[in-house]
Symmetry: C2
Subunit: 546 residues, 2 copies
């Protein structure tokens, strides 16, 4: 360490904990890290303040936990790094989204005020709070009725997880809380407000989660059509949209006290965990698809033009990096499906990923005779239907566990290829894939993705992709680099062309992918809606049995 070295802190707020990473500005070297688990974790059973049960599908958090991450994880990471905190020049954060809370005009969460503390709707609604589906259904129905111009940019469907459905639920279930909320703010922007004392609205969540398109939110007449009392909702969001890579403000003395960092250093505009990974992957240019692969997969792609791509989660101007159109797509179940197989469908002797992968890797392409549809958790892109379900075709008495395991891996690769081809059909080329997340270590899976997509695979070389991405944004906010692209070029950690398509395997996958696509369209696009009917029959049968 020389006396001129500078550092930045990246903070990644996940579902159960926050993680801080200290990164060297010059080259992105990760010096130290520390994780702090939220004391209240996910509040989905009873509200601690009252001990009363929450309804099904609720998922809340306590905003105090986020502040505690500043107090514990940041000093912990500095200590592990062994660097002088005086050399830290900036801090950046990313968060789960849409994770959103009601606050007063000065940023105080309603949940922290005694008047509201026993009201469930006063708390943070975590991304996976799924109790606003009826509200989302109305949001979509009314948008299509009125032909709202923005609906096509979200694949025709606004999620129940996003800002409007959650806010509408508050209005209709606890109008007093709704009225008391001067601000309805992403936790990402709220924690930045805590750090620098300035309220900002980052372009990413504003676009993907709060329907900010072409310089405006949805109009008051549309909102009034949902509920007359919802007409003024946008006032709780409004304010200037701040671009990614920007400087939100300077670290306050109070936040400096929490973190042990110097007051006055740069605080970067907030980001979202998946989207910020594109910076960590140095994949901000057009044509580089980033896949964050874990229990599910999130796909991020920058394009130099606007296109409406069917089945996308959203396209947002500056949503991934300022100056580009950021596209997001997703596969609802990926690692979850493999985990399901190991836990619930693999016999003794085969119930671990290593054994299954080792056996499956010995097979020639097509040797198992199976095709699966990877819809165990429904289909986000391209079909945007969570009532679809999984299928396996080709089973025989000779089928063995590694056969099915391999077919499941392949099915998710086919799903990714469908997404790539949807981008390319919309004239957004995809040249390569960069993979981040836990599944990147599964060598068989990675080779299958290279072979099925016919594209080389880069791997993000950090276990902390999002935190590294946040650190990169901190370096830009601190003025160390002119823009995120330049910072990513110097600081990103990526191994290129780790997996290349094997030409023979890629050729052998083409007819299998064609079969997948045929089944995909048959079961997913109206050829036979048996999956939807089976789901309805299942739900009715279970309700009747209760």
């Amino acid at each position: 360490m020389t006396s001129t070295e500078r550092y930045v802190v990246g903070l990644d707020y996940g579902t159960l904990s926050g993680r801080a990473v200290v990164v060297r500005v010059d080259d992105g070297t990760e010096m130290g890290a520390s994780t702090y688990a939220y004391p209240h974790a996910v509040i989905d059973d009873t509200l601690p303040a009252t001990g009363r049960s929450l309804p099904p599908d609720w998922a809340l958090q306590d905003p105090a936990d986020y502040r505690d991450v500043l107090r514990h994880a940041v000093p912990g990471a500095i200590a592990e790094a062994g660097v002088d905190p005086g050399r830290v020049v900036g801090i950046g954060i990313d968060f789960t989204a849409c994770t959103v809370l009601p606050a007063t005009a000065d940023g105080t969460p309603l949940a922290e005020l005694p008047r509201w503390r026993d009201r469930p709707h006063a708390y943070v609604k975590l991304w996976k709070h799924h109790a606003a589906q009826p509200h989302a259904d109305r949001i979509n129905a009314v948008a299509h009725e009125r032909r709202e111009p923005w609906i096509g940019r979200y694949g025709g469907k606004i999620s129940a997880e996003w800002a409007y459905a959650k806010a509408l639920q508050v209005l209709e279930e606890d109008p007093e809380v709704y009225a008391a909320a001067d601000r309805w703010i992403e936790a990402a922007d709220w924690i930045v407000w805590q750090l620098c004392g300035v309220e900002t609205r980052n372009a990413c969540t504003a676009g993907y989660k709060a329907i900010y398109q072409d310089g405006r939110y949805p109009g008051a007449d549309y909102l009034a059509a949902l509920n007359p009392d919802f007409a003024g909702f946008v006032a709780k969001l409004d304010g200037p949209i701040t671009p990614l890579g920007g400087r939100a403000g300077a670290l306050t003395t109070r936040a400096a006290g929490w973190t042990g960092l110097p007051p006055g250093i740069a605080v970067a505009v907030a980001n979202v965990d998946a989207h910020v990974t594109a910076a960590a992957a140095d994949a901000l240019g057009a044509g580089h698809l980033v896949a964050i692969m874990g229990t599910s997969t999130c796909h991020i792609l920058n394009g130099d033009r606007l296109a409406e791509v069917p089945g996308m989660c959203g396209v947002v101007d500056g949503g991934v990096s300022d100056g580009s159109w950021g596209y997001e797509a997703g596969q609802s179940g990926v690692g979850d499906i493999f985990g399901w197989f190991v836990e619930h469908a693999a016999p003794a002797g085969y119930a671990d990923h290593a054994t299954l992968a080792a056996e499956a890797a010995k097979q020639p392409v097509g040797g198992h005779g199976l095709i699966a549809l990877d819809w165990w958790s429904g289909n986000r892109s391209l079909l945007v239907n969570h009532e679809l379900s999984g299928a396996i075709v080709g089973l025989s008495l000779a089928t063995r566990p590694p056969d099915i395991y391999r077919a499941l891996l392949e099915s998710t690769a086919y799903g990714t290829r469908m997404i790539i081809e949807a981008f390319e059909t919309a004239e957004l080329p995809v040249h390569d894939l960069t993979v981040a997340g836990g599944l990147a270590t599964n060598r068989l899976l990675m080779q299958i993705y290279a072979d099925v997509t016919g594209r080389p695979l880069n791997l993000v070389a950090s276990d902390q992709g999002p935190a590294l991405g946040s650190a990169i944004h901190a370096a830009v906010a601190a003025g160390c680099y002119p823009d995120v692209a330049a910072a990513a070029g110097a600081m990103a950690r990526v191994h290129r062309d780790v997996y290349r398509p094997d030409p023979a395997a890629a050729k052998a996958y083409d007819p299998l992918y064609a079969e997948y696509r045929t089944l995909h369209d048959h079961f997913g696009r109206g050829g036979n809606d048996v999956m939807l009917r089976l789901r309805a029959l299942r739900n009715a049968a279970r309700a009747g049995a209760r």
Copy 2:
């Protein structure tokens, strides 16, 4: 036991052993039984006489083993029964089919002559000898080209397991053996010949396996079109067709010596294991479907008229009982599929039928949200295609092993309902089902069959259904009853209406069955031939990898 009691012996020749049962003529009580395992079992690896390997898919037997059953199992059963052999008045047999052998004009198997003993084609070809598929393919192609009138009575397809394909293979691979075979005879008829010294040809195997229809075998011009040297093949079969329930002859002194039974007693005309079970079930009248349910299911139905039912294995005049049209259908995989699931797809803690069935039985109909196609072993009826494969639709992260297990049980019940509806569409009503075989003890499965088919289920009350059926035929041959129906009325062992359809469950199954039928027709009748293509790709991939 009174001094006037009379007994008959039923002999059931299976794949690996022969079983004798001593039965009281008056009421069908089983007095004793004994099994004798064939010393050579199935010869599918090397020919013992030479030590040389057999090609793939061969399955031979040694006819001497069948004679040994007479020497061991019959005296064993008499001893276990503790009856006076002098009170035995008749013996009847049933056999696997088509299990067929070449013999000289006096009934000596070629395999027992030193000149031919080292020639594989001289041996018995067991039913599951599957090496004559190319010959069967030609048999079918030529039959359809020439519009042979009999082909429709076999669902449009003659099996590679049957008499012509196996004989054509002998002709083309070992013409000397073919030329030396004066007779080409079912093992069923051959063992009767051994017992009474008279060659007979039973109406059942002649019709189902040797294409005897409307009083004749296929013509010489058809056979010549297969191979000019095959034109005279029928001479090796020909002779009078003997009706089921008839008397083939009297037990010879030599056979009396083997069995310990009195010489001169009646020997019944031979039968086939599945077909003879209809007598044991007292289900010879029109409208009573017998299902012999084990690893696969065989369905037997008598009708009072001739109809060509798509997908039937065959319809034969007097093929099940004299004076009726006997229909045979089949499901290629049933218990095999459940066994596959337990062995290869059930995790620890669920890998036994009892646990899975107990959990599955708790579910409401439709509660698992799944539909399976039961084609793990292909589809015999109605689709007659062994390259079809299994499928499961509706899988989710919430799917558990008992869900899939129950869906597999149900899928085979849907397959049975398809067969019942095919009969009824052809105006052959099916009033009830009588179940024999190992699966009859699975209570959940039986209730599902009652509910899915909407029909009451009777159960054959004997573990030895076929042997009891053979004993019934022996009693008729001995003149104790005027015909098989009368004997079955007195001697059959059947519990009636053991399972009745639950009206609510039956109603709940209707929409699920409709989904099954839609998937069945889509994947089985040309909507999407993906299964056939996957099988071809699988076979090519495996061949390439070798």
